[in-house]
């Protein structure tokens, strides 16, 4: 069929089954927008900033597992999208971003809104393309989707010069992808898997170390199964919350800088780490030389470069966690003995009783942790929770009762403030029947606040719960602990009226200062089914604990005081 390049883009998206595209038009991408106007195969959401478009596509991808799609123009449209690409890249999220480019004849001339998109995005995409000939376009789009979703997933950028979108040519969307140089290893080496099985059977204190790769590979059921059959304790990274389910007694909790005591102690004392789709990030390991000193390591990862990057591995297995676990479970059947690890489980239980994940609640002022727990009680399993970056993110990860994978959506690797609200829009587009709540801070929410307008226009009723401490709280916490309370540029006492701001953008706002008001606001926001800001005044100087100071050993945690820890936890406020 003859058509122009712009129409080819639309046809390819439809062929890929894309339902929603998030984007923002401009000169270099206008031909494509003209075709978007004429088609009805997918919906386009006009965010109010390109960064938000990319985060929304990312949130959509995280919630569904499908490839998210965003579209931007050249120059500033593209540069606005870079943070979104980097965010998705660091968390291995499948995404295709299409950017307009100046016409081929202008490339290299500093043309109006020309920027080297392929050059800038090289380190923050899995792969990228500058389309140089119309005849390449269908193949490139096909490859882009394939690369984005296969192997270790990631964002792919396709940069299309304007003249190519105007040019006419034959369109045949390829059925298959042939990239001779790109063949991810999926299966996992049989011999290595057998050795790993032996190691599990022989271990005394095995520990499942579960990372975001398990979510990406949709392997949660298998992870639960291997844990159950061997009664093997498990810890989750920030990216893996929900994999085990909060009520599973084998789950110790989240490990790392803000991990709970029994998780970090489990990692410090285990004799066999079974790492599944995790990458030994510095926020997880703490000081490397002190990390899991007594452990042998089984490392299952689809990306060989993750294996042996930071720690020496005894049983490297390159492959998709799901494929590998299938074989591991079959091999462990009848061999793994849950009784063998009962002492180990008991030790960890004692650790958890010694220092459970806790905080001291009060009635004078709302504690941020209470808000999260209360959300869990009120909406629990049926909600999708996104978050921004800071203390509120850690409290959400620590205290929300996540039951399933893809229920928790946050920027872990890049730590991008401003991610949560647009990501929530993406998740809500994918699951309109679920309650979608962005847990955010008074700092982060302003970084994509314009999305109030998008949410109102398209009736995407997500709820933003602002844990308002009038601080860039996480930075303030570090200043409290490590900079002698010099609160350099972290005081956010000067604020907008969040309720009025939401309402000015056709949303709904609530000011909350008591627990009863919070319950009422959340209930009302869900009923009203409108984009909402619930502005909750929380204890200003609350700290996220436990905390492993950066570069410290994982077992050296600053812990919340037991009993009356109000002073410890609320710092200056108590003075």
């Amino acid at each position: 069929m003859k058509m122009n390049g712009a129409q080819m883009v639309c046809e390819a998206l439809i062929a890929e089954g894309v339902k929603t595209v998030f984007g923002y038009p401009g000169g270099a991408i206008m031909n494509v927008y003209d075709e978007i106007y004429k088609q009805d195969g997918f919906e386009h959401i006009l965010n109010r900033h390109e960064q938000a478009s990319v985060h929304a596509a990312d949130g959509y991808a995280r919630a569904t597992g499908d490839v998210g799609v965003a579209m931007v123009t050249s120059g500033p449209g593209f540069t606005n999208a870079v943070t979104g690409l980097a965010t998705a890249y660091m968390d291995s999220i499948p995404m295709v971003v299409i950017s307009g480019q100046v016409p081929l004849s202008l490339i290299g001339t500093d043309g109006f809104q020309e920027i080297d998109a392929v050059g800038i995005s090289r380190p923050c995409t899995k792969h990228n393309y500058l389309v140089r000939e119309l005849s390449d376009l269908p193949r490139i789009l096909k490859e882009a989707f394939h690369i984005a979703r296969s192997g270790r997933p990631g964002p792919v950028l396709v940069d299309i010069p304007k003249d190519i979108t105007a040019e006419f040519g034959d369109f045949v969307y390829p059925e298959e992808v042939k990239i001779a140089s790109y063949k991810p290893t999926i299966k996992g080496n049989k011999r290595q898997i057998e050795k790993a099985i032996d190691a599990i059977v022989k271990a005394k204190k095995p520990l499942l170390y579960i990372g975001g790769g398990v979510v990406l590979s949709n392997a949660s059921d298998l992870v639960r199964k291997i844990a159950e059959m061997g009664q093997i304790p498990a810890v989750e990274t920030l990216m893996a919350r929900g994999v085990m389910g909060h009520s599973n007694p084998l789950l110790q909790g989240m490990l790392g800088m803000h991990g709970n005591y029994s998780s970090n102690m489990a990692m410090s004392e285990t004799d066999l780490i079974i790492s599944l789709g995790a990458r030994f990030d510095d926020r997880v390991t703490g000081k490397l030389s002190e990390f899991a000193k007594y452990a042998d390591i089984i490392h299952v990862d689809i990306d060989p470069a993750n294996i042996g990057k930071l720690v020496d591995v005894d049983y490297p297995i390159v492959g998709d966690v799901k494929e590998v676990l299938d074989k591991m479970i079959a091999g462990l059947e009848g061999r793994v003995k849950p009784e063998r690890y009962s002492d180990w489980r008991e030790v960890l239980e004692r650790y958890d009783n010694l220092h459970p994940q806790s905080y001291v609640d009060t009635d004078d002022v709302i504690k941020p942790q209470w808000v999260i727990e209360r959300m869990g009680e009120l909406v629990g399993e049926q909600a999708i929770i996104t978050s921004d970056v800071g203390q509120h993110q850690m409290w959400a990860a620590q205290h929300y009762p996540f039951d399933r994978p893809r229920q928790w959506i946050n920027s872990g690797g890049l730590g991008t403030m401003g991610f949560g609200f647009p990501a929530a829009l993406g998740a809500k587009k994918a699951f309109p029947d679920k309650t979608v709540i962005n847990v955010t801070g008074d700092g982060s929410i302003l970084m994509n606040v314009q999305e109030l307008v998008t949410a109102a226009e398209y009736k995407i009723p997500v709820i933003n719960v602002i844990l308002n401490n009038h601080f860039l709280g996480m930075v303030r916490q570090w200043q409290t602990f490590f900079y002698e309370e010099r609160y350099s540029e972290t005081d956010l006492t000067f604020q907008p009226n969040y309720k009025a701001l939401a309402e000015a953008c056709h949303g709904i706002g609530y000011d909350v200062t008591t627990k009863a008001e919070f319950d009422a606001a959340l209930k009302d926001a869900i009923e009203k089914d409108k984009v909402a800001f619930i502005n909750v005044q929380v204890a200003r100087f609350e700290n996220v604990l436990p905390m492993v100071p950066a570069a410290g050993a994982l077992y050296n945690m600053m812990l919340p005081k037991k009993g009356d820890s109000k002073k410890e936890n609320s710092g200056k406020e108590a003075k």
Binding site: R122, P123, R132, S181, P304, A305, K309
Partner: protein, 156 residues
């Protein structure tokens, strides 16, 4: 872990941005590049990139793995058993002894490749460490300019 020198040979699709993907990978992840050469592989749409680098074992392993991850990379050959050659061109003033320098170049697999009015040019192609010795020896004859070609290598 001690740093060691290593020559890595990479077979890539011959497309426009592939060199920037490789050099960008090295720059972005803080790997060293001692020399880097690129040339098309005859009768194919591939290029051969040869990189001389150094780092400890963990870093060298990461370099290989990260190179592998680049979509246009077909093959990464990283062996201790490589035949390595490097070429160097040196320009000498015409006053220097042509015969001496010719003999010197001859000893390092080369010769005189150009003679002009005010200068002449010697060429040598040899193992990288021998090329280094040659350049030291050539220093006695007041060289005006020295251009090294970078290492090319092939598996033994």
């Amino acid at each position: 872990m001690a740093d060691v020198r290593r020559v890595i040979s990479v077979l890539v699709a011959n497309e426009s941005s592939v060199l920037s993907r490789i050099s960008g990978l090295f720059a972005g992840r803080g790997y060293n590049i001692e020399t880097l050469t690129v040339a098309p592989v005859p009768d194919s749409d591939l290029s051969h990139v040869t990189i001389a680098t150094n780092g400890n074992e963990r870093v060298l392993e990461q370099i290989t793995k990260q190179l592998h991850k680049l979509v246009p990379v077909y093959k990464v050959i990283e062996h201790e058993e490589m035949v390595e050659k490097e070429m160097v061109l040196v320009k000498f003033p015409i006053e220097e002894s042509l015969a001496d320098i010719e003999a010197l170049c001859g000893a390092y697999n080369g010769g005189i490749v150009n003679v002009g009015v005010s200068m002449f040019i010697g060429m040598v192609a040899d193992e990288p460490c021998r090329v280094k010795h040659f350049i030291e020896a050539a220093g006695r004859y007041n060289p005006m300019e020295i251009v090294r070609g970078g290492v090319v290598a092939i598996e033994r």
